[in-house]
């Protein structure tokens, strides 16, 4: 089995439009959560989100025709991949196309209610009811003929492969909140087994739209707390009451060690472990004791052939829901035992909200950068300790610490869990 290293990265996040800006903001504890601006929320109970502001996809996609079939989620992913290629020095020296692949985490793409408005209006009968026959006769003519292309989750990876001529393995993983952790894990496996030399791996997502906002609110998953926006996401804090929707993308360049060394690439870290599990419990709630989450971490440690005490930092799933944060704390204690009190863990969801299908990729990137810079970003808004969450969450201020190995956790809504371990690279 060949070794797999990280040689580049790109990101678009609510608190930074490129990876370094995002990282600087995150280390400084600057929140990207703010009042929702992309549509008028009126008096809706949820008014804040981690929106990406000031982003212009034209910097990354030159063909305006391509842009027309790219929704927000696709644009974020394409931009992050572009920046990752540049960062890895591959933009002008592309790899062998047949040995170069793409794996992305993605998810259900919400209907654009503005886009279907005309079609719905044209399908109403005299009584104002939706008439399916009128949709066939009139309504559907008002739709953009290629709209379906924006709704297929696999299109992010398809566009990225086309833009960078990556003809090797290509996949889109949609395992809810674990999707992009699994996408990076799969790229790691593909490289380790020799099926490619270079992979672009990550995730992109956006659920900040009227449809998703209503659905997540009714599910009771997002916070409705009347707090200042930057204070709403508060993982592990006693007063946490739900997550904040975020959006964005992160893509890393993974490469076989051999390929990276041959081309003289700067090696940031080594991926050494990946594991996934299922709760087999209630579908919409995490297993309260964290059994599935613990299993994912244990499998990942075993895969990496590492002991818990060798982990210097955990990039937590930490959603800011009552259940997740308590469960994750228990699971860390189960796996780490005595060492649980010594290992710092933090949740950057406190600053950018929950990026769903992109969350794991952004948090993996944080693990890589923590190793590179010897600094751990904080969990902001951790003001009131919760007796059920009694570990070291790096509250409110970043911490300088040599990170030799980091564990990145993702736990999905349906009970699907995954984790990754990344380590300092030593030749």
């Amino acid at each position: 089995m060949g070794r797999v290293v990280v040689t580049g990265f790109g990101a678009v996040a609510p608190n930074g439009l490129d990876a370094e800006s995002f990282w600087k903001a995150t280390v400084e504890g600057r929140s990207g959560v703010a009042p929702i601006e992309s549509f008028d929320v009126g008096g809706f109970p949820v008014r804040v989100a981690g929106e990406v502001r000031g982003f212009d996809a034209r910097a990354y996609v030159s063909n305006p025709k391509s842009l027309k079939v790219m929704g927000k989620n696709i644009r974020f992913g394409v931009a992050a991949a572009h920046m990752a290629m540049e960062n890895a020095g591959l933009k002008d020296a592309p790899p062998d196309p047949t040995r170069f692949g793409v794996t992305m985490g993605s998810g259900i793409v919400p209907t654009d209610i503005e886009e279907i408005g005309d079609a719905v209006v044209a399908s109403l009968d005299e009584a104002g009811k939706f008439d399916i026959r009128r949709f066939g006769e009139e309504g559907q003519k008002r739709l953009f003929p290629l709209w379906l292309l924006k709704h297929l989750p696999n299109m992010v990876a398809a566009h990225i492969s086309i833009l960078h001529n990556a003809q090797g393995p290509n996949n889109t993983i949609t395992t809810a909140c674990s999707a992009s952790t699994q996408a990076i894990g799969e790229a790691f496996r593909i490289l380790a087994r020799g099926d490619a030399d270079v992979m672009l791996a990550g995730g992109s997502d956006s659920r900040i739209d009227p449809l998703s906002l209503v659905a997540y609110t009714l599910l009771g998953a997002v916070s409705v707390a009347p707090r200042p926006p930057e204070k709403v996401s508060r993982p592990f804090d006693r007063d946490r009451d739900g997550f904040v929707l975020g959006e964005g993308a992160a893509v890393v360049v993974l490469e076989t060690e051999e390929h990276a060394r041959r081309r003289g690439a700067g090696i940031l870290a080594e991926v050494v472990g990946y594991g996934s599990s299922f709760d087999a419990y209630g579908i919409t709630k995490p297993e309260p004791e964290g059994r599935g989450a613990a299993q994912a971490m244990e499998r990942t440690l075993r895969d990496a052939r590492m002991a818990p005490a060798e982990i210097d930092y955990i990039s937590a799933h930490g959603t800011s829901t009552l259940l997740n944060d308590k469960m994750e704390t228990l699971a860390v204690k189960t796996v780490f035992g005595e060492a649980a009190r010594k290992v710092p863990l933090s949740s950057i969801k406190s600053m950018i909200g929950h990026l769903i299908g992109a969350a794991g990729a952004v948090e993996f990137l944080v693990s890589v950068l923590a190793i590179r810079d010897g600094v751990i970003p904080p969990t902001i808004n951790l003001e009131h300790p919760d007796p059920d969450c009694d570990l070291d969450y790096v509250p409110n201020a970043a911490r300088r610490l040599r990170v030799r190995a980091a564990l990145s956790n993702s736990f999905g809504f349906g009970g699907q869990n995954a984790a990754l371990i990344v380590r300092e690279y030593a030749p």
Partner: protein
């Protein structure tokens, strides 16, 4: 993990031809068509009014506990339980921590009907969208569980919960290649030792108003509304698009020694997997078929086989002009022309295109073909196309003597997945 091999020990199917592998195989060998007028909703004013529907929708025990269970989860549960029982695992004490779930899974865009009230409210004051009005109306009219059950990942969650599978759980959507993709990644996970067994395959339905409209406007579907059973005609000169199908195909993949130790019946061995991307356009396959060709070559290399070892190819064969020509060319470059290349057939001629489930259903057709030494036909192949001049097993099933079958799946967006299966020695 040297020495590990992957075998197939259970099969499960739900397709427009019916529920269950036995029923499906009988219908496929008889050359039946599952295509007919759309009954799920009123499609009378749509350009395309035909599809291959699963009728009636099968019930599952989850109906008692899960409101709004998604159709993709429903199909996965039915096919998954059949495969599980077929593998002799019902009531078994198998270590469930070592059982994974790998699914290609998709869901159509069925939200329109429950969105419509809120969208209407958003347009009450003319052409501009009043988002706040949408949100207010949404709070009153949405059923949030319905939305969450539509998530792609839910089929994998329900299947794993239903069978207690606590191993790796993974859901992908590489469009029309996803089901075959799931088999490939499950195979790799078992080879590597991450699981000893996996439920792997695909489940999908896009027979809904919005998806039908979307594919129609992309020009992808056949509109042969007057002759539904004749509409899906892969490789025929008069083919004019695919037919939307739905259903699920799920197999139990198992590490060979694990299967042997528990005395399981081995139905086939999975020996090869290849995965490539076209890098052409998001709407069309690469005309030179290079991506498809490379995926077939990778799968052969992975299996350690020469082209001459393959005795049957279950084609992607969608019945679109572009796919069938491109696929035939790619096959010819590897296997040679008519007389040299093995017989190729497309079961999509009978069941339509099951999108994310297609590749897995077709893998089961390959496995049944190996077991019974019989090739399922390409029905409706009547008018030879000079661009498609291979042996497509036209219209009638045929006996054959062969050891290896290849399963092709090429996704919309350019993802190509090929798997290879070997006949079980018994």
């Amino acid at each position: 993990m040297t020495g590990r091999r992957v075998v197939v020990t259970g099969l499960g199917l739900v397709t427009p031809l019916g529920v269950g592998v036995a029923r499906n195989w009988e219908a496929m060998l008889a050359g039946e068509s599952g295509v007919g007028p759309i009954t799920r909703f009123d499609a009378s004013t749509m350009g395309v009014r035909i599809a291959a529907e699963v009728r009636p929708l099968p019930d599952v025990p989850e109906d008692a506990t899960v409101p709004h269970l998604g159709i993709h989860s429903r199909f996965a549960l039915v096919a998954g339980r059949e495969a599980w029982a077929d593998a002799g695992l019902d009531g078994s004490r198998l270590e469930r921590d070592r059982v994974g779930v790998f699914l290609g899974s998709g869901k159509g865009i069925s939200e329109l009907e429950w969105l419509v009230e809120a969208v209407r409210a958003s347009r009450a004051r003319g052409d501009a969208t009043d988002f706040a009005a949408f949100l207010r109306a949404g709070l009153e009219t949405f059923l949030p569980q319905r939305r969450s059950e539509e998530d792609y990942a839910m089929s994998g969650a329900h299947l794993a919960a239903g069978l207690g599978a606590r191993g790796p759980n993974w859901v992908c959507i590489t469009a029309c290649a996803a089901g075959n993709h799931a088999l490939g990644e499950a195979y790799e996970a078992i080879l590597r030792g991450e699981a000893d067994a996996a439920l792997a395959g695909g489940t999908h339905s896009q027979i809904d108003l919005m998806s039908l409209s979307g594919y129609t406007s992309l020009g992808a579907l056949s509109a042969r509304n007057e002759a539904p059973a004749k509409a899906s005609r892969p490789f025929d000169r008069r083919r004019d698009g695919f037919i939307l199908g739905e259903g699920a195909g799920i197999v139990v993949l198992e590490e060979r020694e694990h299967a042997r130790r528990r005395g399981a019946r081995v139905r086939a061995e999975m020996v090869g997997y290849g995965n490539t991307a076209d890098c052409y356009r998001v709407t069309d396959p690469r005309p030179d078929g290079l991506g498809a060709e490379n995926a077939m070559r990778r799968a052969l290399a992975d299996a350690g086989l020469a082209p001459g070892d393959i005795g049957y190819i279950n084609a992607h064969g969608t019945s679109t002009q572009q796919n069938d020509r491109m696929e035939s060319d790619a096959i010819k470059r590897i296997f040679g022309g008519r007389g040299e290349a093995p017989p190729v057939s497309s079961t999509k001629s009978m069941i339509g295109h099951l999108i994310a489930a297609a590749g897995a259903v077709e893998a089961i057709a390959c496995i049944r073909a190996l077991e019974t030494q019989t090739l399922p036909p390409t029905i409706n192949y009547e008018n030879p196309d000079p661009d498609c001049d291979l042996d497509y097993v036209p219209r009638e099933a045929r006996a054959a003597s062969f050891e290896h079958a290849m399963n092709n799946s090429f996704g919309f967006g350019g993802q190509n997945i090929v798997t290879v299966f070997r006949r079980s020695a018994g």
